[in-house]
């Protein structure tokens, strides 16, 4: 046993002082990624390169596995599987698509308790349909590099707070500018049901009834101009007060001018912009589904902590469910019936699941979240599909989340099962360009690895 271990065991007797570490003498186990290539501010190590990785376990992303290698040319995967040899021998390490988070305000703030760093919540009003996260997203935000280090290569960037919080975007965790980082914008308009939709912003509803009423009023008042029922409320239509044949809507003398806000709602009505519906309590999930169905919207559910109670309804809606974090256990009233096997139960009911972690600083633990879901019954392949972007492709056309011929070479190498909390990553590429796994944290580690 090493001397320092013995002294640890004897520290209560005061022996700790005897081993006070002399400056400059400390050795430490060195995570291998810290020796990795330092990237530019944009996170990239170099330009698009052609490369081959071989002798790997390949998690395709859809839940299936292969063994062999991957060959990349011009930023695309050109060969995959047992026939690929040469290049870098990974010695049995795992190649997978990287993790893609289903929703957090990453890039929108640095430090929770420092308001000066916050751009995640446009709380000037409870309804801000024209606020876009791409106007606030900082591609150089520190949590991005920290997440990338654990193989999280992108995610859905969400605005926080309010009833209608603003427009989300899918981002990749590389690039110097927002344009470089953006994958899809807008990815959807974020709308919060339940207590999340009530708040202190001007014009905020104060109760769940207010949330539902206000959202119906907004949709009724902002129908697109080609809808003959533009002046008829949904309620009138339902109750038969509106007769389509007699409904007289005079064509305007000149095309009306619409506000940006109205145009955003028109896009929602026309299914040109998705709605991302935050709901955790079971009845809030049902309210969200009903609202989206009534107006025939293209919806995705977000949160779903109590989704297992209404799993069949979610499955029948056909809406993708962004669920998680799995570790949100019932600390509050909106999540009282949350369960660890929520994802397993939703999956079993046939729901298309996308996993999210939540906060930007711990986004790197997306794999651990997936592991926890596996511990409680989610099949391993389903967990990979939920955490690595594959299932997100069913809701958005994303160039990520699947290792197959012709796909963009966005992938990571993991020194073991990527879902296991003990596992480290070794390398990663986004669109064929290697990205650094160094971060602000590895710089601090290097600075204090030896005391001076």
């Amino acid at each position: 046993m090493a001397a320092d271990k013995l002294s640890r065991r004897q520290w209560l007797a005061g022996a700790g002082a005897a081993v006070a570490t002399a400056p400059g003498t400390l050795t430490s186990p060195l995570p291998p990624e810290n020796t990795g290539a330092r990237g530019g501010l944009d996170g990239h190590v170099g330009p698009v390169e052609n490369f081959t990785l071989s002798n790997a376990r390949i998690l395709v992303g859809d839940g299936t596995e292969q063994s062999g290698g991957v060959r990349v040319e011009g930023g695309k995967i050109v060969d995959l599987g047992s026939g690929v040899a040469g290049g870098t021998d990974l010695g049995g390490a795992v190649v997978f698509p990287g993790f893609f988070d289903g929703g957090s305000p990453i890039g929108l703030y640095e430090i929770d308790q420092e308001e000066g760093t916050h751009d995640d919540s446009e709380s000037s009003d409870a309804v801000v349909p024209t606020a876009r996260v791409v106007d606030a997203y900082n591609p150089l935000s520190a949590p991005i590099g920290v997440a990338r280090r654990q193989g999280v290569l992108g995610g859905l960037c969400l605005p926080n707070g309010g009833l209608v919080a603003g427009q989300a975007a899918w981002v990749r965790f590389a690039g110097l500018t927002v344009a470089d980082a953006t994958v899809i914008d807008p990815a959807g308009l974020v709308i919060n049901f339940g207590k999340g939709g009530t708040g202190g912003q001007p014009n905020a509803p104060r109760s769940r009834m207010g949330v539902a009423a206000k959202l119906r009023e907004i949709l009724d008042a902002n129908k697109p101009p080609d809808d003959p029922h533009i002046h008829c409320s949904e309620d009138d239509q339902k109750r038969g007060r509106c007769d389509k044949g007699k409904c007289k809507v005079k064509p305007p003398d000149k095309p009306p001018e619409y506000t940006p806000s109205q145009r955003a709602w028109h896009a929602v009505h026309r299914r040109e912009m998705k709605v991302i519906l935050g709901a955790n309590r079971a009845d809030d999930i049902l309210t969200a589904i009903e609202w989206a169905r009534d107006y025939k919207l293209d919806a995705v559910l977000l949160g779903c902590a109590e989704g297992h109670l209404v799993a069949r309804d979610i499955a029948e809606s056909g809406f993708t469910a962004i669920a998680g974090p799995v570790s949100t256990q019932p600390s509050g009233w909106d999540t009282a019936y949350s369960r660890y096997d929520n994802l397993a139960l939703l999956h079993a009911a046939g729901v298309n699941l996308v996993l999210r972690h939540g906060g930007p600083h711990q986004l790197r633990e997306l794999g651990t979240e997936a592991c926890l879901a596996v511990a409680y019954g989610l099949p391993y392949g389903a967990a990979i599909a939920a955490a690595c972007g594959h299932n997100a492709r069913k809701a958005w056309s994303l160039p990520l989340g699947k290792l197959a011929l012709g796909e963009a070479a966005t992938l990571a190498v993991s020194l073991g099962d990527p879902l296991q909390p003990r596992t480290r990553m070794s390398r990663a590429w986004i669109d064929g360009r290697e990205v650094t796994l160094r971060s602000r944290q590895s710089d601090l580690f290097d600075r204090f690895r030896m005391l001076w």
């Binding site: 002082a17 430090i111 420092e114 256990q329 509050g332 009233w333 511990a375 909390p421 596992t423 601090l444």
Partner: protein, 395 residues
């Protein structure tokens, strides 16, 4: 618990104090560990734990369960007596609600001992309650009787935030103000300590009594502190007044001054990877615990969260990712916290004579899919996954 006598057989025993023992026997008699390894004595209930792993009950020395019980709500916020910056007279046990639904969830994660601390709004927040997580309607049967008294102190952003808006002598707006306040109070306590030993004892002052006991090393100091310069400042105060800081909690910048901790015989209680929630935590790095551990400092993983405490084994597994050995990571949730609480004579490892606080896992607990199957406190089953599943988290 008299009468709790049985043998666990064919399990891998992660003894913590020694090497792992595959396919081995552990014998519990009258609530204590009576035998580690060897053959099963006759006439004893035998539990076949083939394929499973046994660890000591897990210990979390930073919990606010019971003082901020679920569900969150204004009426439940009993962890911070922020009426004045020095409230050594209060005891977390007086706020503790044994009906907190988080507690059975923690047992289901293999937790058997917790230290319930007051919050960090005050410079001296109050006394800790060290508890065994026995199912109980009242706190009495939960108290870890052998545990020495302990106190919570704090510094930096939290007291500064709480007391910046006061308009009386309690107001403090800067770190220098905090340290001036701390010195003033310990000067009072030092004078009180001299006086109470004299012929004309002063009027009883509970707060000064406790702080005088701190100087006498009768109360273990748990210091909430993040930044390296705050830690150096506290050592100046501790050295000046002659008290010992036993554990620095959160401790995210201790890796920068780990030599100071080793020299002062201080341990840390920390997370594997939390950072960024406040400026004090901005320089937290996940290799920090491994660096501090390698300097000869006891490192306990703590939760500070009723959610993370349910998956404490995963928190330890993350420590391994960032450079800690598996043995040290397991020690960080068992024997090291026991040492820092001063209860390692009774719990924290699988050794003959220790209280039989045990967890049976379906696989190695550092595997992220491992689940505690059974938890015992002093030989009594306090959790059984086969019959309880995951306990309800609602009230």
């Amino acid at each position: 618990m008299p009468g709790a006598t049985f043998a666990l057989v064919h399990a891998t025993l992660l003894t913590i104090s020694g090497p792992a023992l595959p396919d081995s026997t552990l014998v519990v008699k009258d609530g204590k560990i009576a035998q580690v390894g060897g053959t099963v004595p006759g006439g004893m209930e035998v539990i076949d734990a083939k394929g499973g792993y046994v660890t000591p009950g897990l210990i979390d020395l930073h919990s606010h369960m019971g003082v901020y019980p679920w569900p969150d709500g204004r009426a439940h916020g009993d962890g911070n007596e922020m009426s004045t910056p020095f409230t050594a007279r209060v005891w977390a046990g007086d706020s503790f609600d044994p009906e907190d639904p988080a507690i059975p969830r923690a047992r289901a994660g293999g937790i058997t001992t917790i230290q319930v601390l007051p919050g960090s709004g005050n410079i001296v927040g109050g006394r800790a309650a060290v508890l065994k997580l026995r199912p109980s309607r009242t706190i009495g049967p939960m108290v870890f009787a052998e545990a020495p008294p302990a106190i919570k102190m704090a510094c930096g952003e939290n007291p500064k935030r709480v007391y910046a808006d006061k308009t009386d002598d309690d107001q403090v707006m800067s770190r220098m103000g905090e340290f001036a306040m701390i010195r003033d109070k310990f000067t009072e306590a030092r004078d009180y300590r001299v006086a109470r030993a004299g012929k004309a004892p002063p009027d009883w002052d509970e707060t000064l009594e406790v702080l005088a006991d701190v100087i006498d090393d009768k109360v273990r100091v748990n210091l909430h502190c993040y930044r390296s310069h705050d830690i150096a400042g506290w050592y100046r105060v501790a050295d000046e007044f002659g008290f010992r800081i036993v554990t620095i909690h959160h401790a995210l910048e201790t890796y920068k001054v780990r030599d100071l901790l080793a020299a002062h015989g201080t341990g840390i209680a920390t997370w594997p990877d939390w950072w960024g929630f406040k400026l004090e935590s901005w320089d937290g790095i996940p290799e920090g615990p491994a660096l501090v551990s390698n300097a000869g400092v006891p490192v306990a993983t703590h939760s500070d969260s009723a959610s993370h405490i349910q998956r404490f084994n995963i928190e330890a597994a993350k420590m391994v990712r960032y450079g800690m050995t598996e043995a040290d990571a397991l020690e960080s949730i068992t024997l090291d916290p026991a040492r820092l609480l001063g209860v390692d004579k009774w719990v924290g490892s699988l050794d003959v004579g220790k209280q039989a606080d045990l967890v049976l896992w379906d696989k190695n607990p550092l595997d992220g899919t491992a689940l505690a199957q059974k938890t015992w406190i002093e030989g009594s089953v306090v959790y059984d996954r086969a019959t309880e599943g995951v306990p309800s988290g609602r009230r």
